[in-house]
């Protein structure tokens, strides 16, 4: 079965990102396909490469990136949500004349259309955070 996940929580303020990550792993472990993970609102903070996790805490941004690399996941962050939170890829940093880009390379910036597309093409869309 085809799944997509929406993540509306950042890595720190609530449990949503951790819940979504656990669910993503379970989807894959159960033999289903995970077509897309869409990070919206505070969820876009999960794509920042500049977070430094304390040694005694899990690093959720790295955990998402690692899962993305291992499973070749389509990790999409919402452009409108990301820009105002200061999560930028090279192209957006250049476009808005910012000092640097900080989006992890495992993610891509795109629009809400990618969420609508996922909602229409997968069997189950599951939302976490909020």
């Amino acid at each position: 079965m085809k799944f997509a996940i929406v993540v509306r929580a950042g890595p720190l303020a609530s449990e949503g990102s951790r819940s979504a990550l656990r669910f993503a792993r379970a989807v894959l472990a159960s033999g289903h396909s995970l077509e897309r993970v869409f990070f919206h609102g505070e969820g876009t903070y999960n794509a920042s490469s500049l977070t430094v996790a304390p040694q005694d805490e899990d690093d959720l941004t790295e955990a998402w990136a690692e899962l993305g690399r291992q499973q070749q996941l389509d990790l999409v962050i919402c452009v409108a949500s990301a820009l105002k939170r200061g999560v930028l890829d090279e192209r957006e940093a250049e476009r808005y004349d910012k000092a640097g880009a900080n989006m992890r390379p495992e993610f891509v910036i795109s629009g809400l259309g990618q969420l609508a597309d996922a909602a229409l093409s997968v069997d189950r869309l599951v939302t976490f955070g909020g």
């Binding site: 079965m1 819940s19 379970a26 159960s30 289903h32 189950r124 909020g130």
Partner: protein, 96 residues
């Protein structure tokens, strides 16, 4: 056309569960996750209503030390069971 409802807030901090119960249809199910698992506490206001309808995510129950305190008829499920429940319903709806 059953719906799986996800509740992630305790009944004391959010109206999500109340709103969900109001519109739930025959055959629908609930999974309690994160602070939502507090709704399953034996002796609480909501546990009786959730009997046979809701399950609680095992890791979130354990994280709060509530393993032995859930109401009768509220099953604990692991992450893989949670995925399985999603496949058995027609859609999944998160209440915030």
């Amino acid at each position: 056309m059953a719906t799986l409802h996800l509740i992630n807030k305790s009944p004391g901090s959010s109206d999500a569960l109340t709103a969900c119960l109001r519109v739930m249809a025959e055959g629908d199910a609930i999974v309690l996750i994160e602070d939502g698992v507090y709704a399953a506490l034996a002796g609480g206001d909501t546990a009786e209503r959730l009997r046979g309808v809701a399950s609680a995510l095992e890791a979130d129950v354990a994280a709060r030390g509530l393993q032995s305190r859930l109401g009768n008829g509220i099953e604990q499920v692991d992450d893989n069971d949670f995925v399985e429940l999603c496949t058995r319903c027609d859609r999944v709806m998160s209440w915030f």
